[in-house]
């Protein structure tokens, strides 16, 4: 019944150029979907923290893989990423992450 909370941390090189957003939000909490909120940490931060709250308990290693892949390709640094998940499949998670990546580059 209880929710599971997961936390991942990534270290990288701080961005030199910070473009026009300090927070972004995509998605919804509904069955099989999730919402993602990204906040910029103060400049020069070289750590990104990801906090996941999910109703599907016991999928920590799957989350680790999906997030690892995202962080490796996007090289997001100096951000705090909050995920509220209601049982989204890894495919849906990746879709929402790529939506987020698009918003990050558009704004």
């Amino acid at each position: 019944m209880a929710l599971e909370r997961l936390e991942f941390e990534y270290t990288g090189v701080p961005e030199e150029k910070r473009d026009g957003w300090d927070y972004l939000h995509v998605g919804h909490v509904m069955s099989g979907d999730l919402e993602i909120l990204v906040e910029r940490l103060p400049a020069q931060a070289n750590v990104s923290r990801i906090r996941i709250t999910t109703s599907a308990v016991g999928f920590g290693s799957v989350w680790q893989m999906v997030i690892d892949e995202f962080m490796a390709t996007r090289k997001v640094c100096g951000c705090e990423i909050w995920i509220n998940d209601d049982g989204a499949t890894p495919a849906v998670v990746k879709l929402r992450l790529s939506q987020l990546a698009r918003e990050m580059s558009v704004k």
Partner: protein, 326 residues
Amino acid sequence: MDDRWNLMQDQPFSRLNARERAFAICNPDSFIELLCPRRKLTSPHLPPMGQTPQFDDGIVVGLGKAGKAPVVVVSQESRFVGGGVGEVHGTKMVMAIRLALRGQEILKSQYRSSEDSGQVALVISFDTGGVRLQEANAGLLAHSEVMDAFQAARGKVPIIGVIGGTVGCFGGMGFVASSVDVLIMSDVGRLGLTGPGVIEEVVGTEEFDAANRALVWRTTGGRHRFITRDADFIVEDTMKAFREKVSEVASWPLEKISSKRIIGTGDMVLEQMRLVELAANDKIQDSWDLWRQFGNEDIEHLWDSDVSEFAAHAQRWPRGRIGDCD
């Protein structure tokens, strides 16, 4: 100019989410969200029950301009727990109404006439099944607080309701939507108290078949609500159509907006009772029987016609109200 805003105008209102609706119902670049997801004002009741909370608790509130009018916008998100009203969700709505009232008082005190100051209007986009069952007591309380805030805003802040989402407006929020001044619906929008699924479950499929979409929409949908005058306007299911109608209504004098209200006095209650009496008559088995009663003839044509043609030709309930027709 804002490209996103322009793109949204041509999209179906029903397909946009609550945040997009709030943003696009205001003038371009005018909407500012209050208590945005970043504030993480989430429901304290859902996590202990194993339900993931959402950062905005399923409701978007903010400030903007609609035409010339400053507006406070409230927009419900039906994707999150069916748009159910919980403690935080309800509080955000109540505080938005109070904010509109406070804003109006400040405008009034700083400008001599409303021509100088404009007039603050409250716009609520409903997309909800009413009380969020996981936090039923807090949700019910929120409903009564919203009604209370409406009462405080009477004659001061015009309240414009909008229903065009995929869930529509049911449960306790059905009462709330019925007590706004002006209600704008699309034919996708639905309004009722007990939702179709609940009716079916309680009294059986013979009474109401919730899987029969045509039946559900002709009983609760915007077209029927327009004919029974629960809705004042019916518009196309586009963001633009809703925005234009909201701007138009927001520019009316307060007296004209208030005159559209369907509850609030003894006479209005009697009017509503007359309609109930009529609908409870043995001869009325279906909403279309009621349409016929009001003088509509080619019902199927009327049902299939596009919204503007429907609005022009539909014969509505001939209640004796001020400022009808337009």
